[in-house]
Amino acid sequence: MTLFNSRKLPAPVQNRPSGAYKTSRWRMFLLPFSVFLGALFTWYFLVRFNVFPSYAMPGPGAVASSFVEDFKSGSLLNDIVASLWRVAVGFVISAVLGIPAGLWLGQHLTGRQAFLPMLNFFRFLSPLAWIPFAILWFHIGDKPAVFLIFMATFFPLALATMSAVATIPAIYFRVAKDYNYKGVELLTKVTFPAVLPQVITALRVSYGIAWVVIVAAEMVGCQDGLGYGIWEARNGLRLDSAACYMVVIGLLGMGIDRFLLQFSKLPNVRWGYER
């Protein structure tokens, strides 16, 4: 945990008496929890009073027991690992290529002029449009899914990094010049840390895209994964299992986002979120 707590920050100033502070902490937990319960009850009653035919709308109980079943059989865990792996690989490749590409583009006007329209074109092209090609080029397995994740995240990451670089306040480069930062050092010690807060935000956003895309990507060309699980449940008319997978996808997505959020609490990037 030293990564995130390398330095003790001063405690936030508490103007309110501690009693009021406690109730607000309670609220932070209680409010979303009651909304969740409300949704659960609505769901339950929709099923209880057969608003939808029962084959088209599994109840909370059916979903819970399907969760137990899928968990015990090991298929759920296997699918989770498969999806996480694909997203991680695709995401890392596009970060490793997209962030440097954005850094370069941000610093080179000619490069921007040359590549920007092309990058924008691909950004607005739904990654799902690549599915036929992904399967033709990469057949089945991890590769087509990884490719689709890459196509979905590379362009927004590169573009966000690029515009972050292009808007670095000129004074930082003035100061860098005063103190003799040049070349690689200028890039790693000035340009990169200056855009890091925005890059972290871009990583969170594009991770969100990746997590949405993986489900669709796995419905074709894969033999496992969370998206494949939903597709298979549909084919077997097991909507309880499909709903169970949906819950898992949502929760995992939230969880990983919480994890990525921790990076924005690193002491050397916090300045970027406190303006």
């Binding site: 330095r7 001063p10 306040p169 004074i171 930082y172 003035r174 100061v175 010049k177 005063d178 103190y179 003799n180 000035v190 840390p193 200056a194 890091l196 002491p267 050397n268 990037v269 916090r270 300045w271 970027g272 406190e274």
Partner: protein
Amino acid sequence: MYAGDMKDKIQNSRLTLQDVSLSFGTMPVLQNLSLSVNSGEFAVIVGPSGCGKTTILNLLSGHIQPGSGAIHREGVIRTVYQKDGLFPWLTVSQNISMGLRSVSDAQQREEELQSLFELIHLEDFKNHYPHELSGGMRQRVELARALAGNSDILLMDEPFSALDYQTRLRMRYELVRLLEKRPRTVIFVTHDIEEAAQLADRVLVLSKRPATILKELEITASKPRGLTDGEVVKAMKEILEELGILREIVV
């Protein structure tokens, strides 16, 4: 106290503008401006807003080139900016260490850093980030960074004008005290006439654009100078007169 190689004497520094002219597009900003700053001198440039004060500092630092004329500079030049000159991703200590990059010996760097912290009385904030400091504290850190290592000349562009009045008053004393410990050649730009009168060895009053030097005013009183000292008040009056402000207000 550690003395070591800390730079507490002024090396030979030289800074001159010779018949410098500069236009931005068709707008002349400087016309045949000559000025020369002596080693160890505290020169203050005052003038109406937009007359070209920042432009003069940019020429002196080499950030921009003149249209015509010659510039001579000798010595390591550092600039203290009005605000936001610190890198927000570095701690106070890392920011000040930027000024020590030319010091190769790690031990010496550490000692010098320590003595700079003592100088600006911010030992308790070493590991804080700039955004966790007040404006006055940030400017003290900027000063420490500019004074660190082998600097000879400080260019200061309205370094206190983003601060509140009381902090500004305190920073003037602070600057005088720091320069006593670590003398430097200073070119200080301001639109604050009090500041000029309290700090300057010599005040250069500039005209409206295109800027020329209307008047040079030597102030010999010893520093620190109180705001209401006779010499200070007298100098303020002279500057105001030269800028044509006194007349306008009285009439």
